[in-house]
Symmetry: none
Subunit: 131 residues, 4 copies
DNA sequence: GTGGTCTAGACCACC
DNA sequence: GTGGTCTAGACCACG
């Protein structure tokens, strides 16, 4: 699948999983009715403890992003796309603002900061798809 | 002083303090020989436990950014500016890359992502100094 | 286990713990991949506060002697044996030199000093293993 | 004078001063009736705070090693030589035992340990007087 | 006043 | 169960 986790980026692993599920829904990589990977499968894939995945899924259920279907697994709810698209910019914006604020306060000039952002963006896009 | 902490940004408080000290040194807001605020004073100012500040300062000492002058306080070392400038882009870049990567993978297009960054940047610079 | 601390020997407890871990690694009593005792267990065994053990372990991690395995414990790193053997004589030599220097300056003659050392050595070896 | 302090050897500075005064008395470098250096002079010489020297002297007075003579200074008491000679081996032996014990437990063999001691002894005696 | 060390005990993330 | 973080508050050494 499309998930990857970074244990050093400050965010809790279960939180990273939850965010990535939401982003996948926002991106229509996951659509209403789709089944998310099983706890055990995703845990193996991410080299993470199943409890951690279970916790992420549990919280996504309580946010109505996922819903359990007995004996089948967890599937994306009909309302999830709207909800996830709405949250996307908020979730990303908060983290982004935090790091930009720190950078700003570190004394980088506007130009240096924009250059740093551009460098990182081009590194990212060099190897990635461009939608 | 110039520090502020955000308990919700994922980074441990002691780490935020350490980074901000380094950034202040990189920005020449703190220069070799300057005394950093006392453990107790900074703790009070940040509404944080003195041990948390002490831990940040201890790690800065072990990184040779600060040096203790017995009974007097902790002083920025002569080598600190170089060291902190060298680390600045690495420290910021790592966090920045992490959030950009997440944003990228969330399905935002290049344009949407750049727009998000620009929005945040302009919000920041609206109220801040411009070096 | 093999640790014991002496609160009256001048060294901070966390430092004594750190040194003894390194010495155990140098002595191959702890090998790469071995888990060190848990913070809580060692704290109980040494009748010491868990935070004190945690501090020792944290510093050993920052020296690359230990590495954390999430939810499992702390493990001796592959590079630790070399590193610890290299440090052993330095760490011991420094303390030894300090006390010998003091003895020397106290006016003991060579012979008295050597005799004092020999006495202590034989007391130690009377009850200890001989490798 | 004959004192020197090592802020890194674990012993408190005031303790190092006290021990060295006692050792000087044991060694007859200081004799009953001799005045020890004034607090301010010794403090300047050792680059140490006068309060620290004062504390060392205060404790030596309470141990009857020094006695104050109004308007004159502190002088070595008649009983001091006996007392200091008696304490010498105890004080040194305790520190020595502590470091030898640590070395012993670090897995050094008898031979390696004796060699380490001999090395340090010869380094010391290379540059020092031999009584 | 300063920092350094230690204790006691809480809560969190993860296995 | 594990380690990590933080709080609250004590005592010590030193200026």
């Amino acid at each position: 699948m499309f998930f990857n986790i970074d244990p050093t980026n400050g965010l809790a692993i279960y939180d990273q999983i939850g965010r990535q599920v939401k982003f996948a829904v926002a991106d229509e990589a996951l659509c209403p009715g789709d089944l998310v990977p099983s706890v055990r499968e995703l845990a193996k894939q991410l080299a993470v403890n199943p409890n951690t995945v279970a916790r992420a899924y549990r919280e996504l259920q309580s946010e109505q992003v996922l819903a359990g279907v007995r004996g089948t697994g967890l599937q994306v709810t009909p309302g999830a796309p709207q909800l996830c698209r709405d949250q996307r910019e908020t979730l990303l914006g908060h983290r982004l603002r935090s790091v930009l604020l720190e950078a700003r306060r570190s004394g980088l000039s506007d130009d240096e900061l924009r250059k740093l952002v551009d460098d990182e963006l081009s590194h990212l896009f060099a190897g990635g798809k461009s939608k």
